[in-house]
Amino acid sequence: MEEGWNRPPVMEPDGEAELLEVAMGPHHPSTHGVFRMDVALDGERVIRLKPVFGYLHRNHEKIAEQASYLASMPYTDRLDYFCSLTNNWAYALAVEKLTAQEVPERAEYIRVILAELTRIQNHASAIGFLIQEMGASGTPLMYAFKEREKILDLFESLTGSRMMCNYMRFGGCRVDVSAAWLSAARRVVDGLPAFIDEFENLLSGNEILMARCQGIGILRPELAINAGVTGPMLRGSGVDYDIRKVDHYGIYDRFKFRVPLGDHGDIYDRYMVRVLEMRESITILNQALKEIPGGPIMDSRAKLRGFRPKPGEAYGRIEAPKGELGFYLISDGGPNPYRYRVRPPSLINLTVLEDMCLGSNVADVVLIFGSVDIVLGEVDR
């Protein structure tokens, strides 16, 4: 391969046009928080785009290195605050790898159920926000939030909190699910296919949505792989890579589900992959809710107090709704991790933002950015 093939091309303005430099953000409603893009425009055309990070930086990793292993668990909720349960799982998985801790079967099922519910509410709101940014002010977002609300109510009744769940522990989960909770979850899951049908009726064949999304923000599969893009964005470009299928972490090898793939790598494919992933999550949920066994939810050998892993290191990763969420831990035998690293999918998926935006209209930048689906709590950490 040629040197520099994976860099964004350097674009020149046409003729004698004067360049307009715009700072989009940090206080721009479409930036999902505080994020800035320094954009250079030739008329409507984007010819340079540099993302600027750090407005929400609080050095999560340093704080975690000064706290005990368990004390960082509630802090992981604040990384991607839409998906606190998958953050908990990724961290618990890394620590369990570090200490060879086993997890009881019932806890594994609970984790899968919560992770898939998290994925559905994340994808629904990601699509809602994307359509909102397209100018459909409110309606699709309200459809998505109506369903998300039901899922958050489930989280609240189980963990005590709607978004900051702090639910998983090294070797299991914090509280057991009741039979009443499981039947409530089943009712919510039974209502989901009708919601997705309704959502798709409203959106998938919509002429305006297709005109704004198809052929815009194309990401080539080779570049996606090279730039470490993961999650629905990668699969929207047609690369078959789902960590649930590759690593079989937890008990994902027991469930039958398909991995939806896009064809063109444009915004519409990323939208469609998210819709189809929601449908696959429902099939996983149906299987998990049917098969969930009884038994303990915490391994009896799990140690919560005086927890000191032996020296060594481990990297654990899961397929979070936004991509590969990994935790890399180095232990020196003490009560705190010597090194605690978060591999943030939101930040790394933004690597290709400039490549996708170059040459398109400035109005499409908002859409392309929305189709990446980021949360600034995780980007800036």
Binding site: R7, N59, K62, K97, A227, Y241, K310, G326, T351, R381
Partner: protein, 226 residues
Amino acid sequence: MKTLEEIKSAIEAAVPGAGLEIVPNPSPSGQHSLRLAPAHATEVAKFLRDDAELAFDFLSNVTGVDWPDKEITEKVKVTRTVTKTVDGVEQTVEETVEEPRKRMQPGCLEVVYHLFSMAKKHGPIVLRMKTINRTDQVELPSLTPIYRSAEFQEREIFDLYGVVFTGHPDLRRLLMWEGFKDHPMRRDYVDPDDYEYEPTPHDAVLARAAASKAAQEATGQEGAGQ
């Protein structure tokens, strides 16, 4: 997937003099790593990416680690001449004693890369590189030309640890603001008394500021942080 030993010999066959070393990982995760000599790191990474069988096309995670200077106390045998009074006569005798000696083990900055393969669906392979010290020889080759995913992650390590990646196309601070001086993830980093430029009316902050101002005046040194 091949074992780490097989991968090591495959790299050594392709990149002569690669200077690889297997770093064992005592934890049950079993993720052992390969230490690279910085001089050959880009060639090794290119081989790992382009080799048809290994096909590590996906660089997932880049981590910086700080290993500060460590004081090691060890016992050293010392022979010395002493003057003793034996039976009322002064004599010069040689005796051997064990004496604790302190020596400084120089620290370094380390960068750890986790590679996976999307084509073959295997991994991870863990690569690590060390700088010579933590102060003035902190250059390491950048893997961004080979793996684009290192672009922001290496910028973050440059920002928070101070590793200078040679060959990086756009090496700027990522999370801290322009003009910030220190590297906050280093283990000897001292928080500034206050992140605001104007003094705040909080007693605890003011007391801390007064104490460190007095200490600075006593030693005549500039404070850490900004």
